[in-house]
């Protein structure tokens, strides 16, 4: 029986989609780094005047470093809050209230139901009653934690599922470790890959979030780029290319970080299952 697309069908599908996915990126890269008029499109000039000098331009802008610094602070805060809140909660659910698992899972996908633009509408409503909190730029941290919840909880939950959690905890407790020590010295090291992926996902969400910051007029990095490219189109687009490369770098790092240990731990877990 033949497959649905015939012999060369799959190749054509892959080729056409790759063109679709590459063209916009190429166009943006060219616009940022080739210093020629938009109209100069002849082949003979396609490789002329490429320059990366433009990359240094944003540093002349004071808001560039400020907004980047703020975004990194928020990203670190979001990652810390996410891990500090979700790891204990997920462990507790697994050990004490497995009944609650479906409920918690349901709660963690609610940010899909209440998207960023609706969430920020709610924040605008409560703003007059919580100015002391919402006036701070760092008040974005808990909201970004909420937005990342669907990804992060799933990462940590599936990490815990792969462990023999009950056995680990019992062994550690029998050897005299308290709860905190059990968590930090036994469970967290075993959750390494889940923690890494949750962290990267949160950082990606926090660094790229535009909606809430834009409506609340917070000067994080994405609103800065958007405002900057109106003043300095080429430099603005260059920043966008760089931040895209940074995202790809983060995801690349993530897949490298996860590949080796998780492959190993998978082998270990199948081995231990065979032994038991």
């Amino acid at each position: 029986m033949r497959n649905l697309l015939g012999k060369s069908g799959p190749k054509i599908v892959i080729l056409v989609t790759s063109v679709f996915f590459l063209l916009p990126l190429l166009a943006m890269t060219r616009f940022a780094f080739q210093n020629v008029g938009v109209f100069d499109l002849s082949w003979s000039k396609a490789f002329d005047k490429w320059t990366f000098d433009i990359v240094s331009k944003p540093f002349e802008d004071q808001y560039f470093t400020d907004s980047l610094y703020l975004s990194f602070k928020i990203a670190i805060g979001t990652a810390a809050l996410t891990l500090g809140l979700l790891i204990p909660t997920a462990i507790w659910v697994h050990l004490r209230v497995p009944k609650a698992r479906v409920l918690i899972e349901f709660m963690t996908v609610l940010p899909y139901v209440i998207p960023a633009i609706a969430l920020v509408a709610g924040i605008v409503v409560i703003k007059p009653h919580a100015r002391w909190f919402l006036n701070s730029d760092l008040s974005l941290i808990p909201f970004y934690t909420v937005l990342a919840l669907p990804f992060t909880y799933r990462a940590i939950d599936s990490g815990l599922r792969a462990l023999e959690l009950r056995t680990l905890v019992d062994a550690s407790r029998n050897l005299g470790a308290g709860w905190i020590r059990t968590m930090l010295k036994v469970i967290v090291p075993n959750l390494r890959s889940a923690i890494i992926s949750a962290t990267f996902l949160t950082v990606a969400v926090a660094l790229g979030e535009f909606t809430i910051a834009n409506v609340l007029l917070k000067r994080t990095f994405p609103p800065f780029i958007n405002e900057y490219r109106m003043r300095e189109p080429r430099a603005g687009y260059a920043l966008a290319v760089l931040s895209l490369l940074f995202t790809i770098f983060i995801f690349g790092l993530l897949s490298v970080a996860l590949r080796s240990p998780s492959a190993k731990s998978h082998q270990n877990s199948t081995k231990s299952r065979e032994m038991s």
């Binding site: 943006m28 609706a118 535009f210 687009y237 966008a240």
Partner: protein, 276 residues
Amino acid sequence: MAWIGLVPFFAFLTLFLFIPAFSVFSEALRGANGKFTLDSLREGISGQNLEAFKFSIKFSAGAAFVGVVFGTLLAYAAVITKRPKWLRSLITSFSGVAANMGGLTLAFAFVSLLGRQGVLTKILAALGWDLYSGNFGLGEIPGLITVYSYFNIPLMVLVTIPAIDGLRTSWREACANLGGTTWTYWRRIGLPVLAPSIMGGFLLLFTNSFSAFATARVLTDNSKIVPLRIGFFLGGDLSVGEDSIGYSLAAWMIIVMAVCMWLYWILRRRAEKWQS
């Protein structure tokens, strides 16, 4: 007693998700005199607001349809192409990045490709096809569908690959042994098994397109896009009473999202039946 460990998590969600979401509804249901009224909710879906919802539903459904068709094709092509071996993991990793790439960077990339001064716009114009002679625009339906496909197709790839992997070779062999053709296999076995995943994917892409704010904000000022409309009401200087329409739009958006996610939840349960 066991539920006590979940208190921090629920307290967090209450403060940063439930209270804002609840405030949207309470504000949408309150009249200028502070009393309960359905007036703003009614106004949220009449006149220009109704036009906005129609427009948004139309382009979101279109974007979801295109994403489902090409996403499924690409996922299928990735699964059946065995060589080169790295191709499949390249497609899935790229999809992981691109599915999360919504927002500024994506909008910038398409503006430099298909904007009024875009590279492709100019090339097509040189070939005698003036894109902007009609009512094409990145903020109109065909433009939005093109741009949103950039994150919708990869998202569809990510959600359908497991489903396509779940199609067992033995079913195919059984069908062939019973005299079925490729066509019978897909009509009687393949598509029915994939149907819940495909329909679930459609809903996911629909909500994804319907709620996207950042990408649309950069592409256009088109106030027929519901999230942009909400943004205008939240940020604008409006006369008293008018801002409740922003909350009413946000409330309707949450309702639309809730219905879609509820259906998605049901379909996913059904889809998982075949994926163990």
